[in-house]
């Protein structure tokens, strides 16, 4: 069943990217990155099983941000990297800070279970905090380093597919390592952590390859 939900997530992420680009072009993609970053900061704490290994929720969202990053670099140049990173960082951090502040407020005597669940999820919690920090560092690094790798590959082989696949294969492995190590080192044993890195990487490569279709559509789309 998780595979079906994952597929639905992938479809939603890439359809939204196409929608935001069609309506807003470059600005639409920046708003898309802000939207995905905000959502990611609140849903990534859940861990589920794929092929008996644990994965955090939100991998298609991360790949959506990564793909939007590639499209912006391809169409508008490397100068946009800073703005992409600021957009991601601002949305991601602001959402979590506000949710953290809200968890400090005294709950009402009504709807107690929901209020407690809210506080447990978004209040101070070391494991969730590590996930949050791990996500921030790994995705920030992914966005920054991807620009350099993408352009380097593109200079050598000016083909859309090589630039995208090359950057996916290199960057996503480093991102997976950074995220899993920051979040789970010391909590689980080495074999489990290794498995988490590998499955996270493989799944992101698959989603990234699926995302090549919207990349191709959007890059080749003529602006009116």
């Amino acid at each position: 069943m998780n595979y079906l939900y994952l597929l639905i997530e992938v479809i939603i992420v890439f359809l939204l990217m196409i929608l935001f680009y069609r309506v807003g072009k470059k600005e639409g993609l920046f708003i898309y990155i802000a939207l995905m970053s905000s959502i990611l900061s609140i849903v990534m704490f859940k861990v589920f099983d794929i092929l008996s290994f644990q994965i955090n929720f939100g991998l298609p969202i991360i790949m959506g941000i990564f793909t939007a990053n590639n499209i912006i670099i391809q169409r508008y140049g490397l100068d946009e990297i800073k703005r992409i990173i600021y957009t991601f960082g601002f949305s991601y951090i602001l959402t979590m800070i506000i949710m953290n502040l809200v968890s400090l407020m005294t709950s009402s005597e009504y709807n107690i279970i929901s209020n407690n669940s809210f506080d447990q999820l978004f209040g101070y919690n070391l494991v969730n905090l590590r996930c949050f920090v791990g996500g921030f560092i790994s995705i920030g690094f992914m966005l920054w380093f991807n620009g350099e790798v993408y352009y380097y590959i593109r200079r050598d082989k000016n083909k859309l597919i090589f630039s995208n696949i090359g950057s996916i294969l290199i960057i996503q492995f480093i991102e997976s390592m950074i995220f899993v190590v920051i979040c789970y080192l010391g909590l689980y044993d080495i074999i489990l952590i290794f498995g988490m890195i590998v499955i996270r990487y493989l799944l992101k490569v698959v989603i990234g390859v699926v995302g090549l279709l919207p990349v191709y559509l959007l890059v080749k789309m003529k602006d009116k």
Partner: protein, 221 residues
């Protein structure tokens, strides 16, 4: 502590709008509109006690969304207003979809957060359904009213404030009353709805007064 955090969030909500007006442009307004819509939706799951009254935490940033709409109507054209409302509604709807997917995914044995997500979303299904609907209705009604008020010459501020107070009544009773009538009880829901209406109307009046001052401040180029 609750009161301090509540006032701090109000300051952040209107403060960010001021900063975007002063130092940035339209696209950054879309950005904070998207962030505010997600924050407002998530905060709607928590009922807080501030100043002795029970308030739905979403009142702060949903008021911020209406102020961004008011700003857009006074600064930009009709096509921008449609885009803004679509961006806000799509953000809210999509965050609801992702929360539902997150809730239904079968968790790992190592996961501790799944019960919290399930309690948050499944116990508040009325909010998940009613909040986006009430938000869309409020935004459409507000845009219509603010457009009409834009052409008023006499006593424009007083007419705006009266309109806001009327709009908050509709918003509060569609969302707050029906949600808590389903989740808790009808009689308690009426009291919560009235408390929320009072607080939200006060917040909106303060925001409108501040934003009218903000319009006079020049942007930094």
């Amino acid at each position: 502590m609750s009161a301090i955090v509540f006032l701090l969030l109000i300051a952040i909500s209107i403060g960010l709008i001021y900063l975007i007006h002063r130092y940035f442009g339209k696209s950054q307004f879309y950005l904070i509109a998207v962030i505010y819509s997600i924050l407002s939706f998530l905060m709607s799951f928590k009922l807080i006690k501030v100043f002795g009254v029970n308030i739905n935490a979403s009142v702060i940033f949903s008021s911020g969304l209406l102020i961004i709409l008011y700003y857009f109507i006074n600064r930009y054209g009709k096509s921008e207003i449609k885009r803004l409302i679509m961006a806000i509604f799509v953000s809210t709807f999509v965050s609801g979809c992702f929360l539902m997917l997150n809730t239904f995914m079968i968790p790992s044995i190592y996961d501790n957060n799944s019960p919290f997500y399930q309690n948050l979303v499944l116990d508040n299904l009325a909010i998940v359904i009613l909040y986006p609907i009430s938000l869309l209705i409020t935004l459409l009604l507000s845009s219509y009213c603010f457009e009409l008020l834009k052409n008023e010459d006499k006593n424009r501020l007083i007419k705006t404030l009266v309109t806001i107070i009327g709009l908050m009544f509709i918003d509060t009773f569609i969302f707050i009353y029906f949600s808590y009538a389903i989740l808790i009880r009808f009689d308690i829901a009426i009291v919560i709805a009235l408390d929320n209406y009072l607080v939200k109307a006060i917040i909106m009046v303060i925001y409108i007064l501040i934003i009218n001052k903000v319009f006079k401040i020049r942007k930094v180029k």
